[in-house]
Amino acid sequence: MATKTMAPSRVSGRDRAERRLALRMTAPSLVIMALVAAVPIGYAIWLSLNQYSVRTAGLSRFVGLENYITALSSSEWWAAFGQTFLFAGLSVSLELVLGTAMALLLNLAFKGRAVLRTVVLLPYAIITVVSAITWQTMFQPNMGLVTNVLSTLGLPGGDVVWLGEHGYAMAVIVMADVWKTTPFAALIILAGLQVISAETYEAAELDGASKWQTFVNITLPLLRPAIVLAAIFRTMDALRVFDLPFVLTRGANGTESMSMLAYTQLRENRLVGEGSALSILTFLTVMVVSVIYVRFAGGNIRDVAKEEQ
């Protein structure tokens, strides 16, 4: 046997062994995720095509798409749909603007930057339920800090029961989300900021660009991939919002989200069929948005995927 023919076959043998090992190492995770994500979603689709007796457990009949028709022709679904997107739009845009500002601050060299970084990170570790309670104490009539400051200054909103009124309740929920999750957006954007090379800035400085010009014409375009990434993560999360309205309003006063509506129908009203249909609709909505994002804005995500090939 000549060594010339031996070498490639040994390599491809090692290749094959490596691929087998790779498969064995990923299999447990993939199996768990398939069993606990794909199977339930498949089952949810089945549940959503049936109607269940509220009185007799286990009694059901196949109704096809009836639950979907009921859901899609109900004002509750479209209200929840609109409210979820309103919440996501408001909170994500605030988080991106504030997050960019925070990232710029954290990228400056000054005494106290380490302290700022720690302080900014604190709300991120707070559980969402506690974030909700925290902002409830801030907006509580009579005792809340915000309500008191507003009425001391004679501004509108001081005597409003924030969680009890349309619009105001949504504002509190948006605040609670912005407070907790802006650090996440800020850190993603900061990581993007730190890979912009110093030379780029020096070149701009030599050309006599002002600070603002540099920011608009150089920093922002170069930051775009990081901002888009933060936007994707945050939007996907915001469209699933559940904890905040659950704790603050139980979905009242124009704050019911898609997930909350599905939960209420399923657990509180015991409508398994319709609740399942609503959860599948929520799932589809989020998936459609993520596909749109990756298709139109997520060039960097596709690049990452390509790089893996």
Partner: protein
């Protein structure tokens, strides 16, 4: 750790000595307006915490005034919380759920992440995309059918019944974070192990894993925080104090009607479970930052 992560953008954030020249220039010569922003950002982050603590120190009539400093601070709310058996049970449940889920997720994820980071594999891009897409699944789409399945097979309202679905969301997070950590480990180290006749699995166990300990710790922290925080699965799949974790217990602290909601007690409970997390951030902030941004921007 520092030599391994020198190229990471986040490492520049974590270790100031490695910061590029640009940021050393002009140190402490901040425009006064910038200081205003710094103070505003700090105030926005910290004041709500203060107000939560402030509320937790008030009771009865003082709960309806807006004093900046409670005139009669009391620890009574904290006593009430610690004497509440349901809260203590919830703490126990949360610890068990978070520790078990994090451990199991880390074991499985480190295998998968090694294969994805290092080994030749068919359809790697597709597998990564699939794993990533699971992180965007709305939990309600899993929780709704699980509610029915678990009630039929008797896992409804049990800790195990909560750990299993939480694992599904913990796994992709752990795999994604660990893959980017594994990629940073220089290949030369494995190559020399191969020269010594090691198989890929031995290289993984003897070379990669020991070097990846900081990355594993970071991933563990992130997964722990996310499992501890998770609410929708927890509230859908449990019903009794014996299996309710902390977030659900606090959400249901409100009592029977929304009019007698004991805000002082709820605030005290919130402070109690927030303190360990604040300590975690103070001690491990560098790790948390590097983990949150791992893989986000190619360095």
């Amino acid at each position: 750790m520092s030599t391994l992560t020198a190229e990471r953008p986040t490492a520049a954030l974590a270790t100031r000595s490695k910061a590029p020249k640009r940021r050393l220039r002009g140190e402490s010569k901040l425009h006064p307006l910038v200081w205003v922003f710094v103070v505003a950002v700090m105030a926005f982050s910290l004041i709500p915490f203060y107000w939560l603590v402030n509320t937790s120190l008030k009771k009865g009539a003082s709960l309806s005034n807006g004093e900046l400093f409670p005139s009669q601070p009391t620890l009574e709310n904290y006593l009430v919380v610690f004497q509440n058996p349901e809260f203590l049970l919830a703490l126990r449940n949360s610890v068990i759920i978070a520790v078990v889920t994090t451990t199991v997720a880390l074991v499985f994820a480190s295998f998968a992440a090694y294969a994805l980071a290092r080994l030749k594999m068919r359809r790697k891009a597709m597998i990564l995309t699939l794993i990533l897409s699971v992180t965007t699944f709305p939990a309600i789409a899993i929780a709704a059918p699980m509610f029915s399945i678990w009630r039929e097979i008797g896992l409804y309202d049990t800790l195990l019944g909560l750990i299993i679905p939480k694992l599904t969301f913990a796994l992709p997070l752990a795999i994604y974070t660990l893959t980017s950590f594994f990629k940073e480990i220089p290949r030369e180290l494995e190559e020399s192990a191969y020269m010594d006749g090691a198989t890929p699995f031995v290289a993984f166990r003897k070379v990669i894993l020991p070097l990846a300990v900081p990355g594993l710790a970071t991933t563990a922290i992130l997964v722990f925080i996310s499992v501890w925080n998770e609410f929708l699965l927890a509230v859908t799949l449990t019903t009794s104090p014996e299996s309710r974790p902390v977030p659900v217990a606090i959400a249901f602290f409100s009592g029977t009607s929304e009019f007698d909601q004991p805000l002082g007690t709820i605030s005290a409970a919130s402070v109690i479970i927030t303190v360990p997390l604040v300590i975690l951030v103070l001690v491990c902030q560098k790790r948390i930052v590097s983990g949150m941004t791992a893989g986000a921007v190619k360095g």
